[in-house]
Amino acid sequence: MNSSSTHFVTSRRMGIYEPLHQISTWGESFKTNGCPNTSASTIAELEAKLDNQSEDTSHGTPGPSDKYDQEATKPVDKVQRRLAQNREAARKSRLRKKAYVQELESSRVKLMQLEQELERARQQGLYIGGGLDAGHLGFSGAVNSAHTKNSAGIAAFEMEYGHWVEEQSSQICELRTALHAHISDVELRILVETAMNHYFNLFRMKANAAKADVFYMMSGMWKTSAERFFLWIGGFRPSELLKIQLVFLDFVFLTEGEGRLGVVLVPQLDPLTDQQILDVCNLRQSCQQAEDALTQGMEKLQQILAEAVAAGQLGEGSYIPQLATALEKLEAVVSFVNQADHLRQETLQQMVRILTVRQAARGLLALGEYFQRLRALSSLWATRPREPA
């Protein structure tokens, strides 16, 4: 077809999403016949749109643009140049994207290899890493088998925890979607059970890791900085958990004096019944009491440990026997981490028992998002703009 007007009419009927080769034939005849000025901008628009479309579908073919680069006839000079630049930019963008994807894929392969290595090493107990406690009194040489097993246990925990957080994020999304979509109670219950089991899995993971390195657990090393600020025996305070839930569900606690709580009721979609309010208050009190008992036990342990470390003459320079005694006492720290997690688990379960399915779903969503926010806060803090030194 040689008539530009014929081509032009045909193009108009084509619509936006014609394949690229149509442009080339169209453009060529267009050039040879000269350009009716009125249609220049429209054509340019169409071209631009088609260009974008081609970018999205990642056409790698540079064919048409070559033809344009070579032929620069006067009346459409600027238009042609702009189109050529567009095409160049698009191609470069495609190439960059390709390079990035390739990088990602090779990183992924590397990661999988590392994970496999780790698993192998963990089983053999030969992982050399951490080096947190190396060199003290020769207790842990660099390749001490027990030391490396502990490091491997912690490394495995950190990896598992990474997966746990990812899974948590997707569960939170699902909960949010489900609650907005008003799905049935039966389906909501499944989501609630899943979320609960996910927490229980975490407690199981922590129990195993505590056997490897309880000080790591007590310091909350796997958590982000803001989360660590609120640390209580290797995790969040169960009583805080309830406060989060209640602020979200119904209450704002005003004062707490002499065991009485002042409350303000904020109307919600499905507010708590009087019985529920009573039950939640009781739960909060029981939780606080249990928490206090554990805290006091922990303080006693610290006192005992300090006394064991300080036993005998300080300043003489020999202290192996004292440390041997102290080492025995440290076993108790593992019990504390386990008991604290047990309390968290029981509190969560009782909370869910008191609430309806929908309330529980909202409560778990609130809890999950709260921790997401804390983690985000940690990131923001770490990357906050600072004055140059």
């Binding site: 039950d279 009781n282 739960l283 029981s286 939780c287 009491q289 249990a290 206090d292 008992a293 554990l294 006091q296 036990g297 922990m298 006693k300 342990l301 005992i304 108790a332 019990s335 504390f336 008991q339 047990h342 309390l343 029981e346 509190t347 009782q350 028992r353």
Partner: protein, 150 residues
Amino acid sequence: MHQALPYRTWVPTTGGGSSAGPSSATIEPSDGPMNPGVGMKDVTCVTKMVSENAVIVFGRRGCCMCHVVMRLLLGLGVNPTVFEVDEEDEAAVVDELSRVIAGEDAKEGRPQFPAVFMGGQLFGGLERVMATHISGELVPILKKAGALWL
């Protein structure tokens, strides 16, 4: 109980208590209440203590978990009796307690420390105490055992 009275710690003494079991053959003259470790221990008093006390906690000496249980019970207004077990007596005490428990549904046989007895029966360890407290069931049980009045 509106005031928290200090808990009573009971340390086994040789030939102590009024029970004269076959193992209390050695009687040390003028031994004070804090004189453990001499001769055979009379641990049959253990059975007596379980039946005489509304709430009694058996724990190893210096055990912090035992301390946690005590603090929790104290916080609820209970006066638990605490029986601190020395390392050398541990086996004997566990044996005795197992005998006490036998007859009820034997859970894994031997009790673990800290072991809480209520109303003459084994209640459980720290975990059970925590769990029942969170679920709201502990206080009624304590009242039923006579450890709490309201």
